[in-house]
């Protein structure tokens, strides 16, 4: 189990733990179907500690790096 920030671009992983993500961001992620157990793929990252773009069921979502750091995933 690693933090999402450990993934390489293009790598797929399963989300294991979202409990450390801030409430507001977690709500939004749930809204978009990014939940514990969901399979995601890291699509790209922006430079200088910028946001991450992840894909889940054909849907892309952008989140900040510090939130991604709090998401625990299991690489597939």
């Amino acid at each position: 189990m690693v933090a999402m920030t450990q993934l390489r671009v293009g790598e797929r992983a399963k989300i294991v733990d979202l409990s450390r993500v801030s409430d507001l961001v977690k709500r939004r992620l749930l809204d978009m179907g990014v939940t514990e157990g969901a399979e995601i793929c890291l699509k790209c990252t922006m430079p200088l500690g910028g946001p991450f773009m992840i894909e889940n069921c054909g849907q892309c979502v952008g989140i900040r790096r510090n939130e991604a750091m709090n998401i625990q995933v299991k690489p597939l």
């Binding site: 179907g33 790209c44 922006m46 892309c60 979502v61 952008g62 900040r64």
Partner: protein, 667 residues
């Protein structure tokens, strides 16, 4: 008349369907949060009213635009809901459907984007879906209008049917909590009590406020706390989590039975484009390049030549034939002067910029409808984070390049109230299309060789100042609150020509309309003020009332390089709408066309003072319509006054520095 509400997730095509059903045009774009307020239209056969609403993921609102929906459902009367469901994202869309079914109003489903779903290998058995949810389902493609007739049929037939609210079993602990709520609440006419209870336990702040109106605080608090404790014990989950999980397993079950997937293994076009435009290294350069091309097209390559043609027409054939006609019908000299020197000079002087403005709007519409807008939010987030905002705030700013009013409105999708406020206050610094005539006028006169570059510098100045002030505001008057950023990135879609044209026209017609109203009225008033003075009518303009008013301001403006009564008068009228500055100048300098005006201005301005003047026009006070919108959105007189005040101070300081420093260096 029957009222039908359109409800659905963001960016699922609600407004597209609304436009098809009503035959009107409301704002469509390919990102989440295009529609931010309620819009009412009438079905084409005039039998029912349709209400378009912002997109929501659930009925529990986080941002201002989402609140509109919950508020609508709770407080307004309507007969039926049309739930627009994105067939390519069935799971998260149906999570909302469950909540709507629990709400119990008659509901029908329009299964939209079936074209997208099929391309992704998702095939939905609509009859199965309809039987499982016990509501009618019609597949549609809102973009092309396929299936919209069936939707209309279904809506009108459906009206008589009565539906029972869906009852989903949430497990023993939760069910007991619902019963306790029911006992405490008593009877309820407006909504199913069960729905109210579930929303209350889920933490819906709007519903909680509603509950708190009827129940004493101690009661609802203990209801909530007891439920939370019991659910935690029984299921090891929080209330919201439990409710979410139960709904999700219900939805999963439905999808399992009604959806067939064919594995289509190929890289989508969206992925290929994203590999470039959201690339770590070239993402930001590509955005800047796109902006540069946009300005070149508007000012240099296409827009300017077209405007010149139009100007020649107004100055030549139009003025001549108008003068001839007036002479033929024996109009008095007063009427001739009013029409030719007042109206044609004032209104025509603004209308010549219509081509440039339409080109600008065309490209903004293209950005909006292609899906690039959300990528801009992603690419710019790092920079915005540094100044205390988030990437989503960039969308209102870009829309603000077209017109500040929809820009201020677009800030509704920003979740954090503080960030939203700062964004609204700063959007007026984006150089909107109404300021463009002013630049074009001065740039043509003083910077003929570097037109696009000088204009670009003004846009960049506006954006840079907005970023600096954002930092300043978030450090001082508006601290606290952490910034959040989650953005949905829709697949790219090739905008259709027709849709692009509708969207461009919808934005541009405001400009043309303003020319017919505000600018027309303004031109007449200004001309009259310049025609009469304390010593009678048809006075020398320097003795007119307009000159008197302008000269009050002149000494104040002298340190900025344009201390003439003409500049003062023009700026004063510019508060109505910034393009009135150009009308006023046309009338004051009493010339038939832009070209000769530019020649004449050379004796009143230098290149430096012209630049300083443009900067001042860019920054000094938002226009009347923007101020009204800021007031409507903030509901605060204080912040509205602040938006005017800081802009004036900023404009004065920046113009002062530019002029004085420029003079020092001998420009």
């Amino acid at each position: 008349m029957m009222h039908i509400a359109l409800v659905g997730n963001p960016n699922t095509g609600k407004t597209s369907l609304f436009n098809q059903l009503t035959g009107t045009y409301e704002y469509v774009g390919n990102w989440s949060g295009v529609t931010v307020e309620k819009k009412v239209g009438v079905l084409r056969n005039k039998q029912a009213k349709v209400i378009d609403l912002p997109g929501v993921y659930s009925l529990h609102p986080l941002s201002r635009d989402e609140r509109v929906v919950t508020q609508f459902l709770l407080t307004e009367s309507f007969d039926e809901m049309l739930n627009i469901v994105d067939a390519s994202q069935l799971e998260r869309n149906l999570l909302l459907t469950v909540q709507l079914l629990e709400f119990g109003k008659p509901l029908a489903i329009a299964l939209n984007m079936v074209d997208v779903a099929e391309r992704r290998g998702i095939f939905i058995d609509q009859t199965k879906l309809a039987t499982m949810l016990r509501v009618p389902v019609v597949p549609v493609v809102a973009r092309t209008g396929k299936g919209c007739d069936q939707v209309e049929h279904m809506l009108l037939e459906k009206a008589t049917e009565q539906t029972e609210p869906l009852t989903l079993f949430y497990g023993g602990a939760m069910e007991r909590a619902i019963e306790r709520f029911r006992a405490a609440w008593g009877t309820e006419e407006k909504f199913p009590v069960r729905w109210l209870a579930i929303q209350f336990y889920e933490g819906n702040s709007y519903v909680r406020d509603y509950v708190a109106e009827k129940l004493p605080e101690a009661t609802w608090r203990s209801l909530y706390e007891q439920a939370e404790k019991e659910v935690q014990q029984a299921e090891q989950m929080s209330l919201a989590q439990l409710i979410y999980e139960r709904r999700r397993s219900f939805v999963k079950e439905i999808i399992e039975q009604s959806v067939q997937r064919k594995e289509i293994e190929r890289v989508t076009l969206t992925e290929r484009i994203d590999a470039v435009v959201t690339n770590k290294y070239v993402g930001i350069p590509i955005f800047l390049l796109a902006m540069y091309v946009l300005f070149q097209l508007t000012f240099d390559w296409i827009g300017a030549p077209l405007s010149d043609l139009l100007d020649a027409f107004f100055a030549g054939p139009l003025t001549d034939s108008m003068t001839a006609v007036l002479k033929a019908i024996g109009a008095s000299e007063f009427i001739r002067a009013l029409i030719v020197d007042g109206i044609i000079a004032g209104v025509g002087g603004v209308l010549v910029f219509v081509p440039q403005i339409f080109i600008l709007f065309f490209f903004i519409s293209f950005l909006e409808d292609s899906g690039y807008m959300a990528r801009v939010a992603l690419v710019m987030d790092r920079l915005m984070e540094a100044v205390g905002l988030n990437g989503k705030a960039f969308i209102p700013l870009i829309i603000g390049f077209g017109c500040n009013v929809p820009g201020v409105m677009a800030a509704r999708t920003i979740e954090q109230p503080r960030e939203r406020l700062v964004t609204m206050l700063l959007t007026p610094l984006m150089s909107c299309s109404a300021r463009l005539p002013v630049y074009a006028l001065f740039v043509g006169a003083f910077f003929a060789t570097h037109q696009a570059l000088v204009v670009l510098s003004l846009y960049v100045l506006g954006v840079s100042l907005a970023l600096i002030l954002a930092k300043l505001f978030s450090l001082t008057i508006l601290k606290e609150e952490s910034s959040v950023f989650v953005v949905e990135l829709p697949p790219y879609r090739m905008p259709q020509w027709q849709a692009l044209w509708r969207s461009t026209w919808d934005k541009g017609k405001g400009f043309v309309k303003k020319a017919g109203t505000f600018i027309f009225g303004g031109s007449v008033a200004i001309w009259l003020l310049s025609y009469v003075g304390p010593h009678g009518v048809n006075v020398n303009m320097d003795d007119s009332f307009l000159a008197m008013i302008g000269s009050v301001l002149a000494p104040l403006l002298a340190p900025l390089g344009f201390g003439t009564w003409q500049a003062g008068a023009a700026l004063l009228t510019g508060f109505l709408a910034k393009e009135v500055v150009v009308s006023t100048m046309n009338i004051i300098y009493h010339v038939p066309d832009v070209e000769s005006l530019q020649g004449l201005m050379a004796s009143h301005f230098t290149a430096l003072s012209a630049f300083s003047f443009m900067v001042f026009v860019l920054l000094y006070v938002p226009c009347l319509a923007t101020v009204a919108t800021i007031y409507k959105e903030t509901r605060s007189r204080k912040w509205t006054m602040f938006s005017i005040g800081y802009a004036l101070v900023l404009a004065y300081i920046v113009s002062f520095v530019i002029y004085q420093a420029g003079s020092l260096f001998g420009f």
